[in-house]
């Protein structure tokens, strides 16, 4: 049984990574966007830690998912909300678990429909590998390698913890 890491520790690492990369790129006022639901919880905390003033963006990628043609529309879709102009903006995109890369592709497509951003930095709590698209995170709290029968899920919002699940496959 794999020991699940503590979220707070991973957030520390993500915070540090973000500070480094923002400084390196000379970005002082990025806009943070969380992908629902886990990404939003993380984005809230990171935005606070970084002391950012721009209100948080929340993305629901249901309208952009590439599995619509297989499973139909997610009945729990909620409106996305980007309370800032994305045009030319430097964006930090935050998700909880990165795997195939399909969610990130959908999220980037959606962001572009609001306007052309200046840049996007991708930060993820856990990177499980198993990529199906050429997408890599700029910052990952932890890289994990799991057997194909296992998945992780972020539980929250208070406290945040990572849960290991058997897929039954």
């Amino acid at each position: 049984m794999t020991q699940m890491p503590e979220v707070e520790q991973l957030l520390d690492r993500m915070e540090q990574g973000l500070r480094d990369i923002l400084e390196q790129r000379g970005i002082s006022d990025p806009a943070v966007i969380g992908i629902r639901t886990g990404g939003v919880w993380l984005a809230e905390r990171l935005s606070q830690r970084l002391g950012l003033s721009t209100p948080l963006g929340e993305l629901d990628i249901s309208f952009y998912r590439d599995d619509f043609s297989r499973i139909g529309l997610n009945p729990r879709v909620k409106p996305s909300s980007l309370p800032f102009d994305t045009e030319g903006r430097d964006i930090v995109l935050i998700d909880d678990v990165l795997m195939s890369g399909r969610t990130i592709r959908a999220a980037m497509n959606e962001i572009f429909d609001y306007g052309r951003p200046g840049s996007i930095i991708l930060a993820t709590l856990v990177d499980l590998g198993a990529r199906e698209l050429p997408i890599q995170p700029d910052i990952a709290g932890q890289v994990l390698s799991l057997p194909s029968s296992q998945r992780v899920k972020l539980r929250g919002p208070e406290p945040l913890r990572i849960e290991l699940r058997e897929t039954g496959e």
Partner: protein, 337 residues
């Protein structure tokens, strides 16, 4: 209440309870109606972006199949389909095939040969979209854009969305529908939606000649006197009156109708002060409604128009998604056998 018809239910819903056609609100429960409203809320947000388009129906062909012309309704469906990235074909059938004696079944076969994925159907006969949904090949979604006197479910749902935006709830609301209920598909769908969503009272206000014979069986209260009927209302929905009604000996004159059932400031003052005024359009000013009311602070008629696109995007994407999920399930089942 009479049976909702299990036929309709299974025709509209997949085994998993997903929408696959949208023909009537009969047989759809509160949870599903709420899903439609919630999904539409998300599409309203899409309409506020610089690019008002999502890729859900990319590569799909949507055919506007209008056997009865209506530029307004057709345009909102067209815009909704385009915002879902679908290809749209507009066909006004009353001017083409059927007037040459081609049967509806034959027309459909021809359209299916064009590999369409969805038909938006408006027809002058009640039940026509049901008939089409029963005859088309599986995988093609049918959306009812108004059939005879039967149903206009997208219009009713956009009205529900408007009510929810302004009232925040359905519980406890008193709603009246005023005017030509007999000929109104909108009214039938509204009554059904309001009841399923749990308002406390639906009144219909009209002279007996403009009400269906057994209107009480729909579960609404009948009121002939509008001044009495306006009391305590939270929502008043005015219906459009067609000029033909005078010829059919249903009404003596527009003037008398307006005097008795037209909504003016005096009558509106009898309702709750927060009462909102709705009308499916197009409005006959001075026949159903006074201009000062239609353009007044309590009127939400223009919100209805905006909400119309979002509701149509919601049901189109939900039904198309249901069809595709259905097809996938069947493919998987076939593979596993």
């Amino acid at each position: 209440m009479t049976a909702q018809g299990p036929v309709t239910k299974s025709l509209q819903l997949t085994e998993e309870g997903q929408l696959r056609h949208f023909l009537t609100l009969d047989g759809l429960d509160r949870a599903l109606l709420t899903d439609i409203l919630d999904t539409a809320d998300s599409f309203i947000e899409v309409g506020e972006r610089s690019i008002k388009k999502v890729p859900l129906l990319r590569g799909r062909t949507v055919v506007n199949l209008f056997f009865e012309s209506s530029t307004r309704t057709r345009s909102t469906f067209e815009l909704a389909a385009k915002r879902l990235s679908a290809d749209v074909l507009n066909l006004d059938i009353n001017t083409s095939a059927t007037s040459k004696g081609e049967s509806l079944s034959d027309t459909l076969l021809n359209l299916e040969a064009m590999a369409s994925d969805m038909f938006i159907v408006r027809h002058s006969q009640s039940g026509a979209p049901h008939f089409i949904a029963e005859s088309v090949t599986p995988g093609v979604a049918i959306i009812n854009a108004g059939d005879g006197r039967h149903a206009h479910p997208t219009q009713a749902m956009l009205d529900m969305l408007t009510i929810r935006q302004h009232k925040g709830r359905f519980e406890g609301l008193k709603v009246a529908i005023v005017g030509d209920v007999l000929h109104s598909r909108v009214a039938r769908s509204q009554i059904r939606a309001l009841q399923e969503l749990g308002v406390s009272e639906v009144r219909v206000i009209a002279p007996a000649t403009l009400l269906p014979s057994d209107v009480e069986s729909l579960g609404c209260k009948v009121e002939y006197d509008m001044t009495r009927g306006m009391k305590d209302l939270d929502v008043v929905i005015m219906l459009r009156l067609q000029k033909e009604r005078m010829e059919g000996a249903l009404l003596p004159s527009e003037r008398e109708f307006y005097r008795l059932y037209g909504l003016n400031r005096e009558k509106l003052a009898l309702a709750d002060p927060e009462c909102i005024v709705m009308h499916p359009g197009p409005i006959n000013r001075g026949v159903e409604i006074e201009s000062a009311v239609a353009d007044g602070p309590q009127s939400v008629i223009l919100d209805q128009v905006t909400n119309g696109i979002a509701i149509r995007m919601a049901v189109m994407s939900m039904a198309m998604g249901g069809q595709m999920a259905d097809r996938n399930r069947q493919l998987a089942e076939r593979k596993s056998q």
